[in-house]
Amino acid sequence: METVVLLSKAVAVLGQFPVLAGADLTVQRGEIVLLQGPNGAGKTSLLRLCAGLLPLSRGEAVVLGCDLATDRDSVRKRVGMLGHANGLYTDLTVTENVRFWGATVGAKRGEVDAAMARMGVGDRLADVPVARLSAGQKRRTALACLVARRAELWLLDEPHSGLDAAGRDELDSTLREATRAGATIMVASHELERAGALATRLVEVIGGRIREQPIATPPSTETAGR
């Protein structure tokens, strides 16, 4: 099993504040890791570190075989990140946005269209400027851009926010499909009930460090086991 993310006593600093104060984490390929924790714990910073956006101050961090202490550039092309903001150009239409982000990895027209269809922003919304979309539609467009990039490691920060129930289910099935295709996923989310359904592993981020949590098994499985 290939280790996609390896963090050892990783310290990352934002200004003068240590957002990550010695994080230890190992993620294997194909896992879906759910990051939970209070606000300010460092979930976003952890994702940004793995995306190569936040510089490593101390400790060790190896993502997809790239040592983040010395080289943050090579990891970026293989990682797809969806942050709090959508990363969209508000004056352009949905199609233009997804095509642009697809172009950053050289995706073909067909892949781009498929990504849009998958996230439900093809057809009606295709030629609408992003500024005129609802928050949920913008989120889905951003996800379509992410899908079009065919990343090996997906880093999602509160991806469910703004989505309705159908949108969330669609997102979850897209994520599972991506892992079947070989991707690895790390999701930071406050959605507790999705833990069992979506994630293969649960991790708590607290005070800039990480603790593993067992995923609660539903009562029915336990009784069936006996």
Partner: protein
């Protein structure tokens, strides 16, 4: 987890990424930036400055055309020489910082210290030059190539210092300001050349032209004395300033250590609280 608490201060042994803290061993007093070398250097500076005052103000003769006002020359040439040397050093130090093999924050700090001293001396140059201009040909300012380039260099390095003050990690600061310094090296000759070409078209350049000062023996000697005295002063200032910057950076790192300890303490208490809650509710998340 408790073990790491003790190892926070002992960063150099375990952490290749952490900066080496400034060793206090070589300092004369804890916290001061003086060493034996700078003491000797400082004494030499004072001595040469005293000699300069003697020769410049008293022993060297007055100029035939300009009279006593030519004595400003010694200060003016001294400061302009230092200013240009300072910026040269900033450029070289910036290049060394960016070059992979010699990269070290010391070069960044030397670049910064040198730029600060350079800006100071550049201001002095413009001031002394302005006074001298008023005394010898009645103008406080003149638009010739060298004067204008000097003014532009001054503004450019004020901008450089502004970039240094932008915040962020030490590495970020170093990288950003080093690039800006090297771009300035690119830009200044262009400014100089364009102003020269510009003023070359104007016949009135002769008013601003090179000051016709007859440099006879004693005056020449005083001039060299000025160069030496000011160079010593420059080196002394930059050494001290660089050390102060190093101490500031070390202070920032120490601050990070304390912040790390505080954050870890916060997470330990939070962990114990949540652990007890988990136990109380029977293990469900």
């Amino acid at each position: 987890m408790a073990v790491t608490q003790n190892r926070i201060t002992n960063t150099t042994a375990t952490d290749p990424l952490a900066e080496r803290s400034v060793e206090p061993a070589k300092r004369r007093r804890g916290g001061a930036t003086g060493t034996r070398f700078t003491f000797v250097l400082g004494a030499a500076t004072i001595a040469s400055m005293a000699l300069l005052v003697l020769f410049g103000l008293f022993l060297s003769p007055a100029d035939i055309t300009q009279g006593e006002s030519v004595r400003i020359l010694y200060i003016h040439v001294g400061t302009v020489w230092v200013a240009y040397v300072a910026f040269g050093v900033t450029a070289i130090a910036s290049a060394l910082f960016l070059w992979k093999r010699t990269t070290s924050l010391t070069w960044d700090r030397i670049a910064g210290a040198s730029a600060e001293v350079g800006v100071l001396f550049m201001a002095l140059t413009l001031f002394a030059g302005s006074i001298w201009g008023r005394l010898s040909w009645g103008q406080f300012w003149v638009w010739d190539a060298r004067v204008t380039t000097t003014a532009f260099l001054f503004i450019t390095y004020v901008g450089y210092l502004a970039v240094r003050g932008l915040g962020g990690s030490h590495q970020q600061r170093g990288r950003r300001s080093a690039v800006v310094a090297l771009l300035a090296v690119l830009e200044i000759p262009l400014v100089h050349f364009s102003v020269k070409l510009w003023r070359g078209l104007h016949q009135e350049a002769s008013v601003a032209g090179t000051t016709k000062v007859q440099l006879e023996n004693l005056m020449l000697f005083s001039l060299f004395l000025a160069l030496i005295a000011f160079t010593l002063l420059y080196v002394w200032l930059v050494m001290h300033r660089q050390r102060v910057l190093a101490m500031q950076d070390a202070l920032d790192d120490k601050g990070l250590d304390y912040a790390l300890a505080a954050r870890r303490a916060e997470s330990s208490t939070a962990a114990t609280t949540s652990a007890t809650t988990t136990a109380a509710t029977g293990g469900t998340v």
